[in-house]
């Protein structure tokens, strides 16, 4: 890190739109998956107290940012087409783990690590020892009647302008929940598929189907039952708005550029939650502002989302990483954690 060390706080306030249903689940009850929610305090106008509101966890959003930054690093360092050891993948995409050893990392090693993998100084990680991160990623919280009072005024105004026709309300959290039903089919129930079986296998399946028809008790039914399985899961409706805030403490232009690049790369194709392969989880930033505090006592400088689309975003990061291509390649061959 060669540029002058100046502490700056950065904040991104974003409104994300669910382009497809979002299936960020907390768990399941039987065959029904249910959405992850966050407990929020209700405004006095809704009677006070607490309610559970769907969200995409800060943990998941932070992982998406880390992953975007890691792909950028691999590309800029020419390592995208190389193959890597398990330790490298774990460090870049999982944050690494604590390994054995004496539990200490030397200052020289620490500096080398954050110099070669600059996004680690923001996201943190473990390579033998914990490297603390300096980026704080909030949940992407559903914008609804229960949460509107929790949003900064500029975000709340933008959300209302985007979603609420004059004279109507934003809608309660429950209105944004949808329930999807899917069925995992048993291909052996289809004569066409059975036609592909070998002679012996076809006879076996036919025997099972006939036994099923004649099954008299529960044990027999269980033994001969089909593998067809209906299942349901909750999802956030398409078009739902989510409020997402990211805070960071940065010390150099490299860190600031790394953060902007990670944000831009992640938002270019943001996907979260389950069912990504079946039309779920796509998010699009529809409104945003970034605040920058150049010193502790300074007033915030505010810009809009367009600052993430400027061409210069990522230039400092790419130049820094490109300069260290060989060193990064050598380091990745030896990385522990």
């Amino acid at each position: 890190m060669t540029d002058t060390m100046v502490r700056e706080r950065l904040r991104f306030n974003l409104l994300l739109e669910a382009v497809t249903p979002i299936k960020h689940l907390a768990g399941n009850e039987g065959n029904v998956g249910y959405l992850a929610t966050r407990q929020v305090r209700l405004p006095a106008s809704l009677g006070g107290g607490f309610s559970q509101v769907p969200m995409v966890s800060g943990n998941a959003m932070r992982h998406a940012l880390r992953e975007a930054a890691s792909w950028c690093l691999l590309e800029a360092s020419g390592q995208l087409n190389a193959t890597h050891r398990e330790e490298v993948i774990r460090l870049l995409f999982n944050g690494g783990t604590l390994s054995g050893g004496d539990g200490a990392i030397s200052l020289a090693e620490y500096r080398k690590l954050v110099d070669l993998l600059p996004h680690l100084s923001l996201f943190g990680g473990c390579s033998g020892r914990i490297i603390p991160g300096r980026i704080e990623v909030d949940d992407a919280l559903l914008v609804c009647e229960e949460t509107l009072h929790l949003l900064p005024s500029s975000v709340a105004e933008a959300a209302v302008a985007l979603r609420v026709p004059p004279g109507s309300a934003l809608g309660a959290a429950g209105e944004y929940r949808t329930l999807e039903t899917n069925v995992r089919m048993d291909s052996m129930l289809s004569p066409q598929h059975r036609g592909l079986l070998s002679e012996g296998e076809a006879a076996k399946v036919q025997g099972r189907l006939e036994a099923r028809e004649g099954a008299k008790d529960a044990v027999e039914k269980e033994k001969t039952k089909s593998t067809m399985m209906p299942y349901q899961s909750e999802a956030l409706a398409m078009g739902s708005l989510l409020y997402w805030r990211v805070d960071a403490t940065t010390w150099s232009e490299l860190e600031r550029d790394t953060l902007r690049l990670a944000m831009a790369a992640m938002l270019a194709d943001a996907r979260v939650g389950g069912g990504m392969g079946t039309g779920h989880g796509r998010l699009k930033a529809v409104w945003g502002e970034s605040h920058r505090w150049p010193s502790l006592l300074a007033k915030a400088e505010t810009t809009d989302l367009a600052s993430l689309r400027e061409e210069r975003v990522g230039q400092v990061f790419v130049a820094h990483v490109t300069d260290r291509r060989e060193a990064i390649a050598a380091f990745l061959k030896e990385v522990q954690g």
């Binding site: 060390m5 050891r85 774990r90 990392i105 030397s106 620490y110 500096r111 603390p132 805070d247 502790l296």
Partner: protein, 239 residues
């Protein structure tokens, strides 16, 4: 050993009894002890001096002195741990899973398989409690320099655990001078209960609760635990 202080000079003659309140924006995760005011200030000074993580500082890291008065024995600072009551708790699970798709794309040809059922790549689903505090406020009492405590706390934007994933946002800090409630201020409450880890022989304590604790920051270093009078868990029980 070098001792680091806040970068602005202050006069210890200006130390007064003070109250500190963190107004939170949302919930907070406090699985064990409440946050310590002196620990937060030491963190802020470490940030001001841009210290690397403690583990990376070698065998002889600098010590940090916060703008708070020290006890007569000099072993701890006159500052309480956080005081708050919970309004409502909820359970969250934190998940980790091995990035299979990335691993398939980037793994070295010598990697024949990756064990994701045991060892370092094992996924987890970790339960953790998040709490909303009554009136969204967390209180501390101390004897120290009002202005310098206020300056340093502006470095602290989130408190508690899992700050990196959205918990413990501080909306604003308030620091002001108060009247002390008695000779135990600010480390022994009016009822004689400890408000921070204290030596068991502290004269103001009444029926102290003994246990293993760390006397001064950094409080996460469990190897430094000793047999002490521990503070009441205000979050979950009445003092």
């Amino acid at each position: 050993m070098t001792t680091l202080r806040s970068v602005r000079p202050y006069d210890e003659a200006d130390f007064v009894p003070l109250a500190v309140v963190a107004h939170l924006d949302g919930d907070i995760i406090i699985p064990r002890a409440m946050p310590a005011l002196d620990g937060l200030l030491a963190y802020a000074i470490a940030q001001e001096h841009r210290l690397p993580p403690l583990d990376a500082q070698g065998d002889n890291p600098p010590s940090i002195e916060v703008p708070l008065a020290r006890s007569s024995c000099g072993r701890y600072h006159l500052a309480s741990f956080g005081i708050a009551k919970q309004a409502k708790a909820s359970l969250q699970h934190i998940h980790r899973k091995w990035p299979i798709e990335v691993s398939q794309a980037l793994s070295h040809e010598k990697t024949k398989s990756v064990d994701i059922a045991t060892g370092r790549n094992k996924g987890y689903r970790l339960p953790i409690e998040r709490v909303h505090l009554e009136t969204d406020q967390l209180w501390w009492f101390a004897i120290g320099h009002v202005e310098e405590v206020r300056n340093l706390l502006s470095w602290v934007t989130r408190i508690g655990k899992k700050r990196a994933m959205g918990a413990g946002k501080v909306e604003k800090w308030k620091v002001w001078e108060v009247d002390a409630w008695g000779t135990g201020f600010p480390v022994v409450g009016p009822g004689g209960h400890a408000l921070r880890p204290l030596p068991l022989e502290h004269p103001e304590l009444i029926e102290p609760r003994a246990g293993y604790g760390v006397m001064t920051y950094p409080y996460y270093q469990q190897a430094r635990e000793e047999w002490l009078a521990l503070p009441v868990d205000h979050l979950r029980e009445a003092p």
